[in-house]
């Protein structure tokens, strides 16, 4: 147990790639928390997919001991957070567990969309904020300009921002001092009070079962205690209490203000709810903490095994992944075209990609991913209401009173020169401008946009029209009615359910045409010509014709090598496995996503 005044709890927040994890490395290294030989870059990004993509996906907690210049040794609990917007939920709940934030800003890039989003969250959580200007080793670093930008755009004092290079280690001692002198110790907290601990996160470990990360507010958490989760009601015996250094290290107890983990033979991550309050079963605390808003999936898509005999393997993989990721949802789905699979919900497109990659790689199942869609609210004439996760399930329009779609508030920061392209892109995606301000040569535009126009390829388009110089953040602001219809696609006169989409009526023709053209390129030519049509409720709104294949024969004869001919046939058949059969037409898997990408 550490005296409160010697504890500092803080999160490291920043826009993607501004150097949070690298800063965490230096803090861990300079304090000797990890032996030099065990050090590696972005040490905390332990998941394969994190290391491969060089990004943080899960927030990580580490406890370090720091002997400060005032002669005292402080316990620092840092939480390294992800920068990508899909995982902003990780940031917000991490912030609830600590009292301060290091706001890292890349001095070559300046303030970006997630920088802003993080600051707002930090202010919301009553944090002290220490701005840190990173990457000053790079020639392109412009410390003065970025400090000015922080003051102008964010409105916080940047005069004593710490200037560092997380890469070279320059300025790190000053960061450590700033943590101790400028961030507050935990507020209040009584050792003798009943146990009250905030459930910050939980993860599944195949050896230990569910590991729960807690921040103790009051009382003491110890091995052998019988604890109760106040909201879910579950009771458990605590097997082990410890801290991350960053390896799991057992401690006797965790007292007020401390952050650590517990294990208690909990089977599933789902049995724990982040934001819940942990107390002792007997003589527990009275009122639970306010809790967090749960994270809800906003993007849905179908995942189907390419090889339909792998359906059970897919189920197994999805269940295992869901064990460790409460923000990922799934339900079984059947598609006339694709067979059995799952309709899955994600926090965003990156989250979708990450889960899909993990299934393909860790479980060796090749997947067909259908186009992502959002959740529509469908109001029926009989007064009932339903949530539509899959356009294929759209009820007959004659029974529908109206449809509402989710809208977001999108904040985009962009250099002047690309502003026009960004405005056009937002306008094309049915956006309504809410705000536009300038800070130096950068503009900040705020748009109200339909989520459905964004989930798919908005981010890619934004990156491409701005050459990567724009940053983007969003939050859902609610549902709004609009003139939405289901557009079907017919290939060789047969509807292909997996290609159905919800579109705005005014854009239907344009989208239908674009989709038919795309499909015409994506579907290989067959022995016969194939009409490709887009239709709304039986009315064709766009059409293309894929002409018939004329020549497909191996000119050379391989003499008496009949075996080779058979191998070629097998190869041809294997190629076909990557296709899906619709009547007599074979559609390649990638078509199910590529067809929906919009180029304009």
């Amino acid at each position: 147990m550490t005296e409160l005044s010697r504890i500092r709890n803080f999160s490291i927040v920043a826009h993607i790639d501004h150097g949070k994890s690298t800063l965490a490395d230096r803090l861990i290294q300079l304090t000797g928390t990890v032996a030099e030989r065990d050090m590696k870059e972005q040490l905390l990004d332990a998941m394969d997919i994190e290391r491969e993509r060089g990004i943080t996906i899960k927030a990580n907690t580490v406890r370090i001991d720091y002997p400060a210049r005032d002669g005292h040794t402080y316990v620092l609990n840092l939480i390294d957070t992800p920068g990508h917007v899909d995982f902003s939920y990780e940031v917000s709940r991490s912030m609830r567990a600590v009292e301060g934030s290091l706001l890292v800003v890349d001095a070559t890039q300046g303030v970006e969309a997630q920088t802003l989003a993080n600051v707002y969250q930090a202010i919301d959580a009553d944090h002290e904020i220490v701005p840190v200007l990173n990457k000053i080793d790079l020639p392109a670093a412009d410390v003065d300009r970025v400090a000015e930008q922080i003051e102008d755009v964010i409105g916080i004092d940047a005069s004593d921002a710490v200037q560092i290079s997380a890469k070279t280690g320059m300025g790190i001692p000053e960061v450590l001092e700033a943590i101790v002198t400028r961030l507050p110790p935990p507020h209040g907290g009584t050792r003798d009070a009943p146990l009250k601990a905030m459930l910050v996160d939980s993860k599944y470990d195949s050896y230990l079962g569910v590991v729960v990360i807690v921040r103790v507010i009051d009382g003491v958490l110890k091995k052998g205690q019988r604890i109760r989760m106040m909201r879910t009601g579950g009771t458990y015996d605590v097997d082990r209490v410890g801290v991350y250094r960053p390896a799991m290290t057992s401690v006797d107890e965790l007292g007020p203000g401390e952050i650590g983990f517990l294990t208690a033979s909990i089977k599933q991550v789902r049995d724990t709810r982040v934001g819940d309050t942990t107390t002792t079963e007997k003589k527990g605390c009275e009122a639970p903490l306010p809790g967090f808003k749960p994270s809800i999936p906003v993007v849905f898509c179908g995942l189907f095994p390419v090889d339909s005999s792998q359906f059970e393997d897919l189920r197994d993989a999805i269940e295992k992944l869901a064990l460790n990721d409460a923000s990922f949802s799934y339900e079984m789905e059947t598609s006339a075209a694709l067979g059995f699979g799952f309709r899955c919900g994600f926090l965003g497109l990156l989250h979708l990609e990450v889960i899909r990659d993990r299934i393909e790689r860790e479980y060796d199942i090749e997947l067909i991913t259908t186009a992502p869609s959002v959740v529509y609210h469908v109001f029926m004439k009989d007064g009932s209401f339903r949530e539509l996760h899959n356009p294929a399930d759209m009820p007959d329009l004659t029974h529908v009173e109206h449809i509402e779609e989710p809208r977001i508030k999108a904040t985009i920061m962009v250099p002047d020169e690309f502003l026009g392209d960004v405005l056009k892109l937002c306008q094309d995606r049915r956006g309504i401008q809410l705000d536009m301000t300038y800070a130096g040569s950068r503009a900040m535009v705020v748009y109200d946009l339909p989520l459905n126009e964004v989930v798919f390829d908005f981010y890619d388009r934004l990156k491409s029209v701005t050459k990567g110089y724009a940053s983007f953040d969003y939050q859902i602001i609610g549902y709004r009615q609009d003139n939405l219809v289901k557009m079907q696609v017919l290939v060789n006169d047969e509807p292909v359910d997996a290609l159905s989409t919800m579109v705005h009526r005014d854009r239907a023709e344009q989208r239908g045409r674009a989709m038919c053209e795309k499909l015409k390129d994506l579907i290989p030519r067959h022995m016969f010509k194939i009409p490709i049509q887009a239709a709304i409720g039986g009315k064709v709104i766009a059409r293309e014709t894929l002409s018939a294949l004329r020549k497909d024969v191996t000119a050379k004869c391989y003499g008496g090598d009949a075996t080779r001919k058979r191998k070629l046939l097998d190869k041809q058949k294997a190629g076909k496995k990557k296709m899906r059969q619709f009547g007599k037409v074979e559609i390649p898997q990638e078509a199910f996503i590529s067809a929906l990408k919009m180029d304009g």
């Binding site: 030519r525 067959h526 022995m527 016969f528 294949l549 004329r550 020549k551 497909d552 024969v553 191996t554 000119a555 050379k556 004869c557 003499g559 008496g560 090598d561 009949a562 075996t563 001919k565 058979r566 046939l569 041809q572 058949k573 076909k576 007599k584």
Partner: protein, 385 residues
Amino acid sequence: MPEDWETGGFGLYIHWPFCQAKCPYCDFNSHVSPQVDHARWQRAYLAELDRVGAETQGRVLSTVYFGGGTPSLMAPETVNAILERVRRLWPVSNSLEVTLEANPGSVEAGRFAGYHAAGVNRISMGIQALNNHDLQRLGRIHSVEEARAAFDIARGVFDRVSFDLIYARQNQSLADWQSELREALSMAVDHLSLYQLTIEEGTAFGDRYARGGLRGLPDDDLSADMYQVTQEVCAQAGFEGYEVSNYSRPGEESRHNLIYWRYGDYAGIGPGAHGRLTLGGQRHATESWRNPARWLDAVDAGNGESLRDPVSCADQAVECLLMGLRLVEGVDAERVKRLSGQNLSTESVAHLQDLGLLDPGFARIRTTPKGRMLLNSVIAELLGD
């Protein structure tokens, strides 16, 4: 036990694996070797003949084919010794066809008389192109002039002479090909093999193509047009296409190749040679060691084969279709049914007939000219599961 009428006879293939240079498009089992011990190779061929001869005793041999590689680099004595042994081991048909693949160099042409004396009665010459620029691009070491000279010598020596051209080359226009083809037909004797250039993985062309090189190859439409023009122009000159890439005057088809396509029995001898042999009532696939040195050693040890597998009836049905549909005459439906134990999917056959890709009727499975151009797709439909 299949009858000879059904399997199209019995033939012998002999593979010679050496060439003077490796062509960049070629994925045949061919090697460039500075020194070849002709005596040792001759002994090896003879040993293999003895081995196979003992197993197929009494069968009437109707064709022998020396393929390569470049068999016209073989010493005429070797060819002579082989053919002598062949006649000793098997009863041969009255009209035994003995073909030798020749490259059109001057050295080779000097040996033609020797081959003829040994019993070769048909030459298949790899001319490939009738202009020097394209010959160079194909990496050939001969010129048009040399080719013509060698061809004239061959015509003087042999009654039956065929030659090969590769078309659908880089930057070849339809008109270019048409006039080259006319020129070829004016030279042709009784048979022509006209292959559209195939880019094979693992060849120099394959690598270049994969890296985005080898530009100017015809697109699907142009190569389809070229193919159609070839059919028409050849037919006008009296050369009917009887197989996807082979054209002949009536009755002058390559009888040896017909055995393959009619899925008959053939023994394969030499590095990498394939065979299909009915032994004791069971059809077998055979393969010999591909690597020349490895093959020689294996033969010294008693057997050059690297593989001998029974072919299941179902696989025989598939192979029979794969080979047979290349022929205009198509395949006997009854035979396929007997092998596979079932009819082809009537739904698929009807679909292909509706599309005008298979001839109507069910006794023979036969592609239409349009269907032959789509043979791979047609077969996938017929054999798709």
